[in-house]
């Protein structure tokens, strides 16, 4: 192809040279002929060289110029559409089948004032919380996230709804609105990401399952190679162990610090401490008195919760696909001080603690087994003038749980769990659960 394109050029060149040849002698003509011959052969050589280069270039097709590469990619944008700015949407569907040897409506934790959504849930088949998650960047400064929980009783609640200020200085990225507190380890994770069907007893007893607040949170990651996070949040403090108090200003405050890192290729960890201070006014609950009768009581005062948490994960060479192991534990302390009202108001103080430890082992792709131990310490409770009616208990509520789950893909999980729960003296609840968790839509990212 190239050869034929260039030949007319050579001929034209020859013609250009030719006019001067009319008057030339035979010798001159011979010289011209040899020159043309040389010209032609040199052209042919160059053409061959060019062809060779072209052939090599075609074979390689290596690294075209950047302009040539990126140009078609720039043009290949999606056509505009009013839906193009829709937020990322995902839905979590879940449900359980529970077989409980004790009536869940009589669930209580001896020595502890309950609150929030606690207990093992309903017997038989029941739909779990369905969650609807919407998230997107709002503009160049803000991002937003909404998580709506649809309860099996056909009520809708806003689980989290917050904005993030992305361009805040020092990498603070403040979160504002309603959110799960950064307290502890498990608190920030949504229930469908938990490794067991239900929350640890310590979470149920001290935080009413999970602590959320309406307020502002800021986290700061130190700009160093080692992970060090400081966080603080203030909120209305209406969630258990606090309560709604109709007042201006800050109702609750929490601070937390986390650190963590890698040990070699195969191990990584995170540990932290957190402190929450909130207040309750007329926080109502039902307590069994010394005679075993239920009594309606109220607490008004300050509640302080401290949490120490750690998690350690192992995967051979960091590859968690085949096998992995995760060990996590949290220790809670709670101190409450204020007024306790039964028939009369009296001074009240309680210092209680509890913890859990759990391990989950992925023994082959898609399959995991796990075990958990929960224990609460009723500690010292001083009922003041009501001490005659409500004696302190020395019973330690505890629970053993084991689970097996199957995760065929990142988007589905089936779980079987058995627990032996002793939250009241002389009562053992044998609990069997079968649970499914399905997630649809946008690919969610899981927190560590």
């Amino acid at each position: 192809m190239v050869k034929y394109a260039l030949l007319p050029g050579a001929v034209a060149l020859a013609l250009l040279v030719a006019p001067s040849a009319w008057a030339a002698s035979d010798a001159d003509l011979d010289e011209i002929r040899t020159q043309i011959k040389e010209l032609r052969s040199s052209y042919e050589a160059r053409i061959r060289a060019l062809e060779e280069r072209l052939r090599q270039a075609e074979a390689k097709a290596v690294a075209p110029q950047p302009v040539a590469i990126s140009a078609p990619l720039v043009a290949a944008t999606a056509p505009s559409s009013p839906n193009a700015f829709n937020p990322a949407i995902s839905v979590i569907l879940q449900g359980t089948y529970a077989n409980l040897s004790q009536d869940p409506s009589r669930f209580a934790i001896a020595g502890f004032a309950p609150g929030g959504e606690i207990g093992p849930g309903k017997r038989g088949f029941s739909l779990g919380e369905s969650e609807l998650v919407l998230s997107a960047n709002v503009d160049d400064k803000f991002a937003g996230n909404l998580i709506v929980s649809l309860s099996p009783e056909n009520t809708v609640s806003v689980e989290e709804a917050y904005g993030l200020w992305l361009t805040a200085p020092y990498g603070l990225a403040p979160k504002f609105g309603r959110f799960f507190s950064g307290l502890g380890y498990l608190n920030e994770q949504h229930q469908h990401n938990w490794d067991f069907v239900d929350a640890p007893l310590a979470y149920q007893a001290f935080l009413g399952r999970q602590y959320a607040t309406d307020g502002i949170q800021a986290k700061w990651i130190a700009p160093i190679d080692h992970y060090f996070e400081l966080g603080a949040e203030v909120g209305n403090g209406e969630g258990f162990p606090g309560s709604a108090r109709s007042r201006n200003g800050v109702g609750s405050a929490a601070v937390f610090a986390h650190t963590g890192g890698d040990i070699g290729l195969s191990h990584n960890w995170r540990a932290g401490i957190s402190y929450l201070r909130t207040r309750a006014r007329d926080r109502a609950y039902t307590l069994a008195d010394n005679a075993g009768n239920d009594a309606d009581v109220f607490f008004t005062g300050a509640s302080r919760v401290a949490v120490a948490d750690f998690v350690w994960k192992y995967a051979p060479s960091g590859n968690a696909r085949e096998t992995s192991f995760k060990l996590q534990g949290e220790y809670f302390w709670r101190s409450e001080r204020g007024d306790f009202t039964f028939t009369d108001a009296s001074r009240y103080s309680a210092r209680q603690s509890g913890w859990y430890l759990q391990g989950v082992y992925k023994f082959m792709p898609a399959w995991r087994i796990g075990a958990r131990y929960d224990r609460l310490d009723p500690g010292r409770v001083d009922y003041g003038a009501n001490a005659a009616t409500f004696g302190a208990t020395d019973f330690n509520p505890k629970r053993y749980s084991v689970m097996l789950d199957y995760t065929p893909s990142e988007f589905s999980r089936l779980r079987l769990q058995f627990a032996q729960s002793r939250t009241l003296p002389d009562v053992t609840d044998k609990q069997w659960f079968v649970q499914y968790v399905l997630s649809l839509g946008a690919h969610g990212a899981h927190k560590y």
Partner: protein
């Protein structure tokens, strides 16, 4: 007392803000880390978030990654949803606005490569599908060169004082790379048309580049574990259209490959897949030297 406080403050400031003359780069996978190192030399500080023995689809947003993303000037990722399960969370939790998607410090390699394997049906029932196309672009050596030019330009834009340094290193790298690609293609000529089985559809670009013939995949759907039923059907396929070898990446378990290799009389070949995947794959050049040697050995 006050002077003590001052000393503490200064020490703290020195600890928090270490002297940084270098461009700090967070690379999600080893191949881009190696490329940044080639282009940046001693002017860059590279942190590689994963290693070659890790499945790049299944990485956790662990504390060390958040800490490293916090102080990065540039995040170099593959894109095309390879890191969708963890990178957005790492970047968001790090609170580093410089490297957020869309910010100048966020580079996605897949944007500069013509992507293959774009799914015709976008449905999770098809497994772990990547809507924009197959993200494992680094298995074709020509794609490394395609990414090198815009990456060097990005590094120069973020660190203008060293722009000339990056450009001259790019020039030197491109020359050596072109020569190496030509050599690899010569060496790999006997592989043209060789039928292979892959464990995960991770080698689309390699297969395309060297003209191999992909007969079957051991995973029933991308990202799903091979099942016995599917392996049996692959075995049946192989009886009709025999293959020479079964390929798996260094990070994948060998059970399925060994199973099929024993029954279909194939050679099980482990490819480094990225820098560090095998002893020989020490850098980008070693990655392809070793890949081609292993393929040639498998095709014998």
């Amino acid at each position: 007392m006050r002077s003590h406080l001052l000393i503490v403050m200064v020490a703290l400031a020195a600890w928090i803000a270490p002297a940084r003359a270098d461009l700090s780069v967070f690379a999600t996978v080893p191949e881009w880390g190696a490329l940044v190192q080639e282009l940046g030399g001693d002017k860059v500080k590279v942190y590689i978030a994963t290693n070659a023995l890790q499945d790049p689809h299944h990485v956790e947003a662990k504390p060390s990654l958040i800490a490293r993303a916090r102080s990065a000037d540039l995040v170099v990722s593959t894109g095309a949803e390879l890191e969708v399960g963890w990178l957005p969370l790492v970047v968001q939790q790090s609170g580093n606005p410089k490297v957020r998607p869309g910010a100048p410090g966020h580079f996605e390699a897949a944007a500069f490569v013509p992507l293959l394997g774009k799914p015709t049906r976008l449905d999770r029932a098809e497994g772990d599908v990547h809507p924009q196309g197959d993200p494992h672009v680094q298995t074709d050596a020509r794609n490394i060169a395609r990414v090198a030019t815009p990456l060097a330009a990005k590094m120069a834009a973020l660190d203008p004082s060293n722009a000339a340094h990056y450009q001259s290193r790019l020039k030197s790298f491109s020359e050596r790379w072109s020569a190496a690609v030509a050599r690899w293609e010569r060496e790999a000529a006997p592989l043209r048309g060789v039928p292979v089985v892959v464990q995960h559809k991770a080698f689309t670009y390699l297969v395309e580049w060297l003209g191999l013939k992909e007969v079957a995949a051991l995973e029933p759907k991308p990202g799903l574990e091979p099942t016995t039923a599917h392996l049996s059907s692959v075995l049946e396929t192989l009886q009709r259209t025999p293959a020479r070898m079964v390929l798996r990446a260094a990070y994948q378990g060998d059970r399925a490959s060994q199973w099929i290799a024993a029954r279909a009389k194939l050679k099980a070949v482990v490819l480094p897949f990225t820098v560090g995947g095998t002893e020989g794959a020490r850098d980008l050049f070693g990655l392809f030297d070793d890949t081609i040697q292993r393929l040639l050995k498998g095709a014998e």
